[in-house]
Subunit: 298 residues, 2 copies
Amino acid sequence: MLELKQVTIIGTGLLGASLALALRERGFGGRIVGVGRREKTLEEARGLGCFDGLTTSTAEALEEARGLPGGERHLAVLAAPLGHFKEIFGKVAVCDDPGLIITDVGSTKASVCALADELLPDATRFVGSHPMAGSEQQGPTAADAKLFEGKPCVVTPTGKTNDQAIQLVEALWEAVGMNVIEMEPNKHDRCVALVSHLPHAVASMLVKVVTEDGGDALAVASTGFASTTRIAAGDPALWVDIFQTNKDAVIDSVDKMMDELTRFKKVMARGDSGALKRLLDGAKQERDDWGTRRGEQG
Amino acid sequence: MLELKQVTIIGTGLLGASLALALRERGFGGRIVGVGRREKTLEEARGLGCFDGLTTSTAEALEEARGLPGGERHLAVLAAPLGHFKEIFGKVAVCDDPGLIITDVGSTKASVCALADELLPDATRFVGSHPMAGSEQQGPTAADAKLFEGKPCVVTPTGKTNDQAIQLVEALWEAVGMNVIEMEPNKHDRCVALVSHLPHAVASMLVKVVTEDGGDALAVASTGFASTTRIAAGDPALWVDIFQTNKDAVIDSVDKMMDELTRFKKVMARGDSGALKRLLDGAKQERDDWGTRRGEQG
């Protein structure tokens, strides 16, 4: 089990609050402190009953851990939107506790690792994380102790990351039921561009295609449209940050999608039912295999 | 309630078998006869306990209804893959029962209505239907009496369709809980190209983008990818028929999708976070509104 005197969760939205709930439910014995920007969010987080402390001050939350018993180990988790990371790293940098290990839950990693390098006095104690769990819902009231269970979490050490930091951060995610995968930050960003950012762009643009046509077709839209476009309901402000911090990989993935759509269109245009069948067969096979690996019901 | 002496369901796969189950469960008092091509499918359909008769002969199933009491009305529902419709219409055409009304469950309508016109001796007794319910599962063993409940069903009369046929077919779908929408066949096809066929093509091509990149990214794929690509697991043979019978509208919808992706890419490339936010905000708003209208949980 995870042994730490304190976990400081900076950002008590869906992910931060779910992490606190999950740790508490799985028997974590240390202190859990939440940092939020707005009193309303802190109030909602308080209602969950899993935080030992809640404050608007990052410095205060981090300093509180100093006097606690239970060894040196203290973990700070940045669970705020990516757009706030620069400011938060600046505040964390002021805390000179050598026992402090830092991670984050940001959806892109190369830019976050670069910020940590630039702003932290000792970046060897930072290791990026991307727990691949979420929901189109937001805020502490949507928190779910099972949000992370069975999902992948990418941890992105660089050549200079301290081994202890890696172990501690991986132990955190395993403690809430995640399957940890180590990956180099740039590779992570290319991979999530394909399986997360591109699907988000595609889902949003599918909605636009239909509504710009006048929206009449929505009257006959059903489960297929619902599932394909579900993630377009995600928080636009968060997604602007995600897209912008992974710009090149996202543009590249959109180009690949347009290449595939062009291929599909050519096969359609020449009425080649054999080639069309092979294209759909291939996609079905890969989707079925992946679904089986992740334990979907057949 | 629906008053008919017999419903003959030609094709006892997921949709046909679910229709039989749903009618029986909601107290339909007439005879339900299923026609299947393969003994194995008929055997599985028999196991559901909702068919009064099951046969491989369309002619036999239709003739059986002649001697039944309960008035003249007899309904045949083509629930086979679109690729078999020409052959089935040929068989139905031989039955000269003036009380026979005919509909289908095909995913495209203009080509089906044209076939009915060409092959039936009296096309005024045919009216096309598209119950917008389905699943990526197949066959009678996946049948579900609640499959149709609360879903839209498009009914596509033409100028010459008999009013009684329209009323009877609409009563059928209402009897199993569907919300009937009348639409002209060509308009139906343009609408489903946008909200059903394009999403299917997009889901399949998303899977291809990821697997052709080598598939490494699948290790970090999670709920967003799962939902966006779920329908790519649909039966490729069925989808080849659907795409081919709606070729022009599908190609047109793919072009519109590429236009939207190009717009997204341009906004990304120039790093215009305001325009990106507006694009995502618009898509979220439309998706949320549609979700609310169809009764999704917020």
